[in-house]
């Protein structure tokens, strides 16, 4: 297995904290992900997983702490700024425009243009089509007619498009928030194939998932959240599902995380 040394840290958080008024949704999260590493974030509902991701992607502004991308502190003002810096997120509720075709969805909000003229810039449809094909190839997704509108596609195909979106752009980090939660068995397999493809290409990825089998099949490391704190940081090769469940439910706490007990 790849050695994840400190030299190739992609994203690091230090003391990342989010309070909603008196509610401490996230408390002092120290987290690291390396180049090519696939990390699962697990935890019960309300454990702080989504809050954690929302601080990284700047959907919300953190109360305290630092987020470092390639060693540089970042202060994204919006999810768009985070995306422009290379953090691509696949949201739980698919952020797709149903009536548009695949290239339009991939390039939504960042269209390629031939001729710049404010909002009336001329679209470069050919370049977007080609980049779409390249992006789909990278993820191993095959959609013969990408000019069909998304509404004519199945849930799995739509999810694949949403994921291909992250791959079509030179992203530094991909975050997926329960990408298979709403999918059937075959479609889940398809999405998991995409994750494997990304792994093969050395793309780092954070996966929020409740699916133990999926996590053990695909990920390198599991970070468990409990009551707004990180309570365990486990290598998949050194742990087992029972152990992870024990951490999730609070029956067990990592030695290095005493305050999470």
């Amino acid at each position: 297995m790849t050695d994840f040394t400190n030299a190739n840290v992609v994203l690091e958080t230090r003391d990342l904290t989010k309070h909603y008024g008196g509610v401490h949704a996230l408390e002092g999260a120290n987290f690291v992900i390396h180049q090519g590493e696939h990390v699962a974030i697990m935890g019960d509902n309300g454990a702080g997983k989504s809050t954690f991701v929302r601080q990284i992607t700047a959907v919300e502004q953190r109360t305290r702490g630092d987020v470092l991308l390639h060693g540089k502190p970042t202060h994204f003002s919006s999810p768009i700024a985070a995306r422009e810096a290379g953090i691509e997120t696949v949201f739980q509720n698919l952020a797709l425009a149903d009536h548009l075709d695949v290239p339009s969805n991939l390039f939504l909000g960042r269209e390629k243009v031939k001729f710049k003229f404010g909002p009336f810039s001329i679209l470069d449809n050919k370049a977007m089509r080609e980049a779409t094909m390249a992006g789909l190839e990278k993820t191993g997704v095959k959609i013969p007619n990408i000019l069909n509108s998304i509404e004519n596609m199945s849930g799995g195909q739509r999810q694949c498009v949403a994921i291909a979106r992250t791959a079509a752009f030179a992203s530094k980090l991909t975050i997926m928030d329960e990408p298979t939660a709403a999918l059937g068995v075959q479609e889940t397999a398809q999405v998991e194939n995409i994750i494997r493809t990304l792994k093969g290409q050395g793309e780092p990825l954070i996966l929020i998932s409740h699916n133990m089998r999926q996590v053990f099949d695909l990920m390198d490391r599991i970070v468990v959240f409990r009551r707004g704190r990180i309570c365990a940081n486990l290598k998949v090769s050194e742990t087992d599902p029972q152990d992870v469940v024990a951490y999730i439910t609070g029956a067990k706490t990592g030695a290095e995380f005493p305050e999470a007990a």
Binding site: P79, G155, Q157
Partner: protein
């Protein structure tokens, strides 16, 4: 796995050809309606609606009627071009009829001639303002329309009130402004330059040029893409970095500008402006848009569809006149057709949803 399917992990992607463009359906509806009126004409009147039977003009078609069909929808058609964009965006605009009223009044008061039959014009709106070059009243009119559209857009984008309410407010306010402008008096006697804008087939020329322009804009620019995207999924558009509020302002402003152009053409054609001009035009425009296959829920439709919708509208009105039916029936049938078009759209959407 059949030949035209591809996939991995058991998931296949159908490579069926892209579905037929919905504009074809509208086109077939247009043909069907023409055929119905032809049949009724032959049966009831012993005449043809569109063809030059009896060689009265020595042409294949009855060109006079064709011209009337297009001419009578051209001005409302200009409004409908704006309504198309607003409705694709997922909104609605009830104000253009009233904006036509106020814009016509304001524009006309800057378009008056100084002398009539060698006498000073006694009906001048502003003393000393007469015989201005034609571009000035047009620009002033455009400014009025742009202002009204921008207010609509700002209300909808930034106060988040429903478009229905915001533009209803504008509809009432703009009509009031139209009456206030000249204390209810009509404004007449435009310069020859201004009068030329609506003369003869000019309204049709202007309508077609604008239709081509906005067809290209909606199809080939970022503006068009974002209009469809917001109408399709506003939340996703926002998450994707589209400046949704700014874009809404822009679309409503353009709709206002198009209403203003319609007002200029209309007042020029009538050689007068009255506060009551354009009443109910917004509903006729929305009817053209809906008949043209634009979805009231947003994200779907096209300028081409609206142009075809306008033609259907024109054929129906001409057809009723041709059959010498009372105007009451026209209105009633118009209502039925609008509702019918929306019901069809609902069915289409349910079918699309059931495929998922």
């Amino acid at each position: 796995m059949s030949k035209n399917q591809h996939g991995i992990g058991g998931l296949t992607f159908d490579s069926k050809k892209k579905a037929r463009a919905p504009e074809w359906n509208v086109f077939f509806a247009l043909l069907l309606i023409v055929v119905i009126f032809e049949g009724l004409g032959q049966a009831l009147m012993g005449q043809s609606l569109l063809f030059d039977t009896g060689d009265r003009f020595g042409t294949i078609f009855n060109e006079a009627r064709l011209k009337i069909i297009i001419l009578q929808v051209a001005i409302i058609g200009i409004i409908a071009l704006g309504s198309t964009q607003v409705i694709i965006l997922g909104g609605i605009d009830l104000s253009p009829g009233s904006v036509v009223g106020v814009t016509a009044m304001v524009a006309m008061s800057f378009a008056q001639v100084g002398e009539i039959n060698g006498m000073a014009n006694p009906k001048l709106m502003f003393e000393g303002i007469y015989n201005l070059p034609v571009i000035l009243p047009v620009l002033v009119g455009l400014c009025v329309g742009i202002l009204a559209g921008a207010v609509n857009g700002a209300l909808i984008a930034y106060t988040k009130i429903p478009p229905f309410i915001a533009t209803l407010g504008m509809m009432v306010t703009a009509r009031g402004a139209a009456k206030w402008w000249s204390k209810g008096q009509p404004i007449s006697f435009p310069t020859d330059g201004y009068a030329a804008l609506g003369k003869g087939m000019m309204p049709v020329v202007i309508f077609i040029l604008l239709a081509i322009l906005f067809h290209l804009i909606l199809k080939y620019t970022v503006y068009g893409k974002h209009t469809y995207a917001i109408g399709s999924n506003e939340q996703a558009s926002r998450m994707s970095g589209i400046k949704v509020e700014r874009h809404k302002m822009l679309v409503y402003t353009i709709a206002g500008a198009l209403a203003a152009l319609a007002a200029v053409v209309l007042s020029s054609k009538n050689l007068t402006a009255q506060a009551g001009m354009g009443v109910m035009y917004e509903l006729d425009a929305i009817a053209m848009v809906v008949i043209g296959g634009v979805s009231l829920t947003g994200g779907r439709g096209s300028i081409l569809g609206t142009v075809l919708g306008a033609l259907i509208f024109g054929v129906i009105i001409s057809g009723f006149t041709f059959l010498k039916l009372d105007a009451y029936y026209q209105e009633m049938v118009k209502g039925v057709i609008i509702v019918g078009a929306v019901v069809l759209d609902q069915f289409r959407q349910q079918r699309a949803a059931s495929r998922m």
